[in-house]
Protein backbone atom coordinates (compact mmCIF):
# COMPACT_ATOMS: atom_id res chain seq x y z
CA UNK A 1 0.00 0.00 0.00
CA UNK A 2 1.37 3.38 -1.00
CA UNK A 3 -0.29 5.10 1.96
CA UNK A 4 1.46 2.85 4.45
CA UNK A 5 4.77 3.49 2.73
CA UNK A 6 4.50 7.26 2.68
CA UNK A 7 2.77 7.46 6.06
CA UNK A 8 4.13 4.63 8.24
CA UNK A 9 2.65 6.26 11.35
CA UNK A 10 -0.67 7.18 9.74
CA UNK A 11 -1.81 10.78 9.49
CA UNK A 12 -4.09 11.25 12.52
CA UNK A 13 -1.46 12.43 15.01
CA UNK A 14 0.03 14.77 12.42
CA UNK A 15 -3.26 16.32 11.35
CA UNK A 16 -4.58 16.67 14.92
CA UNK A 17 -1.29 18.14 16.16
CA UNK A 18 -1.21 20.54 13.22
CA UNK A 19 -4.77 21.67 13.84
CA UNK A 20 -3.85 22.35 17.49
CA UNK A 21 -0.81 24.41 16.43
CA UNK A 22 -3.11 26.46 14.21
CA UNK A 23 -5.61 26.59 17.09
CA UNK A 24 -3.01 28.14 19.39
CA UNK A 25 -2.21 30.79 16.76
CA UNK A 26 -5.95 31.41 16.26
CA UNK A 27 -6.60 31.75 20.01
CA UNK A 28 -3.96 34.46 20.41
CA UNK A 29 -5.03 36.16 17.19
CA UNK A 30 -8.72 36.33 18.04
CA UNK A 31 -8.16 37.56 21.61
CA UNK A 32 -5.30 40.00 20.98
CA UNK A 33 -4.98 40.58 17.23
CA UNK A 34 -1.36 39.42 17.44
CA UNK A 35 0.05 37.01 14.87
CA UNK A 36 2.53 35.01 16.90
CA UNK A 37 5.63 33.54 15.31
CA UNK A 38 8.24 31.69 17.29
CA UNK A 39 11.58 32.98 16.04
CA UNK A 40 11.36 36.70 16.87
CA UNK A 41 11.71 35.58 20.51
CA UNK A 42 15.37 34.81 19.74
CA UNK A 43 16.09 38.48 19.02
CA UNK A 44 13.58 40.23 21.27
CA UNK A 45 14.84 38.28 24.29
CA UNK A 46 18.41 39.39 23.54
CA UNK A 47 17.24 42.98 24.11
CA UNK A 48 17.08 42.23 27.86
CA UNK A 49 20.83 41.65 27.97
CA UNK A 50 22.33 43.32 24.89
CA UNK A 51 22.56 46.95 23.81
CA UNK A 52 23.00 46.06 20.13
CA UNK A 53 20.58 48.41 18.30
CA UNK A 54 19.02 45.68 16.18
CA UNK A 55 17.64 43.91 19.26
CA UNK A 56 16.39 47.11 20.86
CA UNK A 57 14.08 48.20 18.07
CA UNK A 58 10.76 49.47 19.31
CA UNK A 59 8.80 46.51 17.97
CA UNK A 60 11.07 44.04 19.79
CA UNK A 61 11.15 45.86 23.12
CA UNK A 62 7.36 46.30 22.98
CA UNK A 63 6.75 42.60 22.30
CA UNK A 64 9.55 40.92 24.29
CA UNK A 65 7.45 40.33 27.41
CA UNK A 66 4.58 38.53 25.71
CA UNK A 67 7.03 36.58 23.56
CA UNK A 68 8.62 35.19 26.73
CA UNK A 69 5.15 34.25 27.99
CA UNK A 70 4.30 32.63 24.62
CA UNK A 71 7.50 30.57 24.71
CA UNK A 72 6.87 29.49 28.31
CA UNK A 73 3.39 28.43 27.21
CA UNK A 74 4.89 26.32 24.40
CA UNK A 75 7.25 24.58 26.85
CA UNK A 76 4.43 23.97 29.35
CA UNK A 77 2.00 22.72 26.70
CA UNK A 78 4.55 20.21 25.46
CA UNK A 79 5.24 19.20 29.07
CA UNK A 80 1.53 18.46 29.53
CA UNK A 81 1.77 16.10 26.56
CA UNK A 82 4.93 14.49 27.96
CA UNK A 83 3.29 13.81 31.33
CA UNK A 84 -0.15 12.78 30.08
CA UNK A 85 0.55 11.00 26.80
CA UNK A 86 4.25 10.36 26.32
CA UNK A 87 4.86 8.62 29.63
CA UNK A 88 7.79 10.79 30.74
CA UNK A 89 10.78 12.43 29.11
CA UNK A 90 11.94 11.66 25.59
CA UNK A 91 15.41 12.48 24.30
CA UNK A 92 16.77 12.68 20.77
CA UNK A 93 19.54 10.54 19.30
CA UNK A 94 20.49 13.26 16.82
CA UNK A 95 24.10 14.15 17.52
CA UNK A 96 24.94 17.30 19.44
CA UNK A 97 27.03 18.86 16.68
CA UNK A 98 24.10 18.61 14.28
CA UNK A 99 21.84 20.33 16.80
CA UNK A 100 24.37 23.07 17.58
CA UNK A 101 25.55 23.69 14.01
CA UNK A 102 22.06 23.49 12.57
CA UNK A 103 20.76 25.68 15.38
CA UNK A 104 23.25 28.45 14.57
CA UNK A 105 22.13 28.45 10.92
CA UNK A 106 18.47 28.40 11.99
CA UNK A 107 19.15 31.43 14.20
CA UNK A 108 20.79 33.36 11.35
CA UNK A 109 18.40 32.25 8.62
CA UNK A 110 15.08 32.78 10.38
CA UNK A 111 16.02 36.28 11.48
CA UNK A 112 17.50 37.30 8.13
CA UNK A 113 14.52 35.79 6.31
CA UNK A 114 11.93 37.48 8.58
CA UNK A 115 10.37 34.32 9.94
CA UNK A 116 10.44 30.60 10.51
CA UNK A 117 8.24 27.54 10.16
CA UNK A 118 5.52 29.12 12.30
CA UNK A 119 5.81 32.77 11.21
CA UNK A 120 6.12 32.15 7.47
CA UNK A 121 5.01 28.52 7.29
CA UNK A 122 1.83 28.68 9.34
CA UNK A 123 0.89 32.36 9.71
CA UNK A 124 2.31 33.70 6.44
CA UNK A 125 1.02 30.86 4.30
CA UNK A 126 -2.31 31.13 6.15
CA UNK A 127 -2.32 34.80 5.12
CA UNK A 128 -1.59 33.83 1.49
CA UNK A 129 1.48 36.07 1.64
CA UNK A 130 3.66 35.77 -1.46
CA UNK A 131 6.74 36.66 0.56
CA UNK A 132 6.04 33.75 2.90
CA UNK A 133 5.27 31.31 0.09
CA UNK A 134 8.64 32.11 -1.53
CA UNK A 135 10.43 31.75 1.82
CA UNK A 136 8.75 28.42 2.61
CA UNK A 137 9.43 27.00 -0.85
CA UNK A 138 13.08 28.02 -0.46
CA UNK A 139 13.69 26.54 2.98
CA UNK A 140 11.74 23.37 2.16
CA UNK A 141 13.73 22.64 -1.00
CA UNK A 142 17.09 23.44 0.63
CA UNK A 143 16.26 21.45 3.79
CA UNK A 144 15.26 18.37 1.79
CA UNK A 145 18.48 18.55 -0.22
CA UNK A 146 20.57 19.10 2.92
CA UNK A 147 19.01 16.29 4.96
CA UNK A 148 19.36 13.83 2.09
CA UNK A 149 22.99 14.85 1.56
CA UNK A 150 23.79 14.42 5.25
CA UNK A 151 22.11 11.01 5.14
CA UNK A 152 24.01 10.04 1.99
CA UNK A 153 27.26 10.94 3.77
CA UNK A 154 26.40 8.23 6.26
CA UNK A 155 25.54 10.41 9.27
CA UNK A 156 22.90 8.70 11.45
CA UNK A 157 21.08 10.08 13.07
Amino acid sequence: MIGAELFPHGIARYAIGGALIGGGVAFIYLSTGIIAGASTFLESTLSYVSSVPRFNRGSYVASRDWRVVFTLGIVLGAAVYAVGWQGGAWTTDVQWWRLLGGGILVGVGTRLGKGCTSGHGVCGVGSMSRTSLVNVATFMAIAIGTAQLVQALGVTP
Partner: protein, 152 residues
Protein backbone atom coordinates in the same frame (compact mmCIF):
# COMPACT_ATOMS: atom_id res chain seq x y z
CA UNK B 1 0.24 51.09 22.47
CA UNK B 2 -2.46 48.81 23.65
CA UNK B 3 -3.45 47.96 27.19
CA UNK B 4 -1.78 44.82 28.38
CA UNK B 5 -3.10 43.40 31.58
CA UNK B 6 -3.39 39.99 33.14
CA UNK B 7 -6.03 38.85 30.64
CA UNK B 8 -3.69 39.69 27.75
CA UNK B 9 -0.79 37.68 29.13
CA UNK B 10 -3.06 34.82 30.23
CA UNK B 11 -4.43 34.63 26.70
CA UNK B 12 -0.94 34.49 25.19
CA UNK B 13 -0.01 31.80 27.71
CA UNK B 14 -3.06 29.67 26.88
CA UNK B 15 -2.43 30.09 23.15
CA UNK B 16 1.18 29.04 23.70
CA UNK B 17 0.02 26.00 25.69
CA UNK B 18 -2.23 24.84 22.84
CA UNK B 19 0.53 25.56 20.31
CA UNK B 20 3.16 23.66 22.31
CA UNK B 21 0.84 20.76 23.03
CA UNK B 22 0.14 20.52 19.30
CA UNK B 23 3.86 20.49 18.49
CA UNK B 24 4.41 17.66 20.96
CA UNK B 25 1.28 15.73 19.91
CA UNK B 26 2.26 15.94 16.23
CA UNK B 27 5.79 14.73 17.13
CA UNK B 28 7.26 17.73 15.28
CA UNK B 29 9.09 18.51 18.53
CA UNK B 30 11.27 15.47 17.77
CA UNK B 31 14.10 16.16 15.29
CA UNK B 32 13.93 12.56 14.06
CA UNK B 33 10.39 13.06 12.73
CA UNK B 34 11.41 16.18 10.82
CA UNK B 35 14.45 14.37 9.37
CA UNK B 36 12.24 11.41 8.40
CA UNK B 37 10.06 13.85 6.48
CA UNK B 38 12.97 15.58 4.76
CA UNK B 39 14.38 12.17 3.81
CA UNK B 40 10.97 11.14 2.38
CA UNK B 41 10.58 8.30 4.89
CA UNK B 42 7.40 9.66 6.51
CA UNK B 43 5.50 12.50 4.85
CA UNK B 44 3.20 13.04 7.85
CA UNK B 45 4.73 16.44 8.57
CA UNK B 46 2.84 17.78 5.54
CA UNK B 47 -0.32 17.38 7.58
CA UNK B 48 1.18 19.21 10.55
CA UNK B 49 2.13 22.31 8.60
CA UNK B 50 -0.87 22.04 6.27
CA UNK B 51 -3.32 21.51 9.11
CA UNK B 52 -1.91 24.42 11.06
CA UNK B 53 -1.98 26.74 8.03
CA UNK B 54 -5.58 25.81 7.22
CA UNK B 55 -6.80 26.52 10.77
CA UNK B 56 -4.89 29.79 11.12
CA UNK B 57 -5.68 30.81 7.54
CA UNK B 58 -9.41 30.23 8.02
CA UNK B 59 -9.31 32.22 11.26
CA UNK B 60 -7.47 35.13 9.62
CA UNK B 61 -9.85 35.12 6.63
CA UNK B 62 -13.01 35.18 8.74
CA UNK B 63 -11.73 37.69 11.30
CA UNK B 64 -10.45 40.19 8.72
CA UNK B 65 -13.77 40.05 6.86
CA UNK B 66 -15.80 40.69 10.00
CA UNK B 67 -13.74 43.84 10.54
CA UNK B 68 -14.02 43.63 14.29
CA UNK B 69 -11.34 44.41 16.83
CA UNK B 70 -9.51 42.10 19.20
CA UNK B 71 -11.27 42.27 22.60
CA UNK B 72 -8.13 42.35 24.77
CA UNK B 73 -6.16 44.98 22.85
CA UNK B 74 -8.53 46.80 20.54
CA UNK B 75 -6.18 45.92 17.69
CA UNK B 76 -7.54 45.55 14.19
CA UNK B 77 -7.44 42.07 12.63
CA UNK B 78 -4.89 42.04 9.81
CA UNK B 79 -3.07 39.41 7.78
CA UNK B 80 0.63 38.61 8.13
CA UNK B 81 2.17 40.31 5.12
CA UNK B 82 5.88 41.03 5.12
CA UNK B 83 7.76 42.96 2.46
CA UNK B 84 9.78 40.99 -0.03
CA UNK B 85 13.50 41.46 -0.60
CA UNK B 86 16.49 39.25 -1.31
CA UNK B 87 16.96 38.61 2.45
CA UNK B 88 13.74 36.59 2.38
CA UNK B 89 15.35 34.14 -0.04
CA UNK B 90 18.86 34.23 1.47
CA UNK B 91 17.48 33.79 4.99
CA UNK B 92 15.17 31.00 3.85
CA UNK B 93 18.11 29.20 2.25
CA UNK B 94 20.30 29.49 5.37
CA UNK B 95 17.38 28.36 7.55
CA UNK B 96 16.84 25.45 5.16
CA UNK B 97 20.42 24.22 5.59
CA UNK B 98 20.10 24.51 9.37
CA UNK B 99 16.73 22.74 9.45
CA UNK B 100 18.06 19.98 7.20
CA UNK B 101 21.16 19.48 9.36
CA UNK B 102 19.41 19.55 12.76
CA UNK B 103 15.75 18.69 12.12
CA UNK B 104 14.65 21.44 14.46
CA UNK B 105 13.07 24.89 14.09
CA UNK B 106 12.46 27.53 16.80
CA UNK B 107 8.90 26.69 17.94
CA UNK B 108 9.55 22.95 17.83
CA UNK B 109 12.75 23.50 19.82
CA UNK B 110 10.88 25.23 22.67
CA UNK B 111 8.34 22.40 22.69
CA UNK B 112 11.18 19.89 22.66
CA UNK B 113 12.34 21.26 26.02
CA UNK B 114 8.84 20.56 27.34
CA UNK B 115 8.92 16.89 26.29
CA UNK B 116 12.11 16.46 28.30
CA UNK B 117 14.53 16.50 25.38
CA UNK B 118 17.45 18.21 27.13
CA UNK B 119 19.97 17.76 24.26
CA UNK B 120 17.83 20.26 22.32
CA UNK B 121 19.49 22.95 24.45
CA UNK B 122 22.43 22.61 22.03
CA UNK B 123 20.10 23.74 19.26
CA UNK B 124 18.50 26.55 21.27
CA UNK B 125 21.94 27.79 22.31
CA UNK B 126 22.93 27.70 18.65
CA UNK B 127 19.82 29.65 17.62
CA UNK B 128 20.59 32.42 20.10
CA UNK B 129 24.21 32.49 18.90
CA UNK B 130 23.09 32.74 15.28
CA UNK B 131 20.46 35.38 16.03
CA UNK B 132 23.03 37.38 18.02
CA UNK B 133 25.70 37.14 15.32
CA UNK B 134 23.39 38.32 12.53
CA UNK B 135 21.99 41.12 14.70
CA UNK B 136 25.45 42.34 15.68
CA UNK B 137 26.68 42.26 12.09
CA UNK B 138 23.61 43.97 10.67
CA UNK B 139 23.68 46.66 13.36
CA UNK B 140 27.32 47.37 12.54
CA UNK B 141 26.59 47.48 8.82
CA UNK B 142 23.74 49.90 9.44
CA UNK B 143 26.02 52.11 11.57
CA UNK B 144 28.74 52.05 8.94
CA UNK B 145 26.52 53.13 6.08
CA UNK B 146 25.68 56.81 5.92
CA UNK B 147 22.17 57.92 6.68
CA UNK B 148 19.25 56.13 8.25
CA UNK B 149 19.02 52.76 6.53
CA UNK B 150 16.06 50.55 7.25
CA UNK B 151 16.95 47.72 9.59
CA UNK B 152 15.40 45.12 7.36
Amino acid sequence: MSRRGAAFYLSVLVGGLIFGFGLAYSHMARPEIVLDFLQFEDLGLLFVMGGAAVVSGTTFAVATRLRGRAPLTGEEYVRRLKSFDRNVVAGGAIFGVGWGVSGICPGAAYASVGIGNWPILWAIGGMFLGAYAQGLLRSQLTDASAGPTAAD
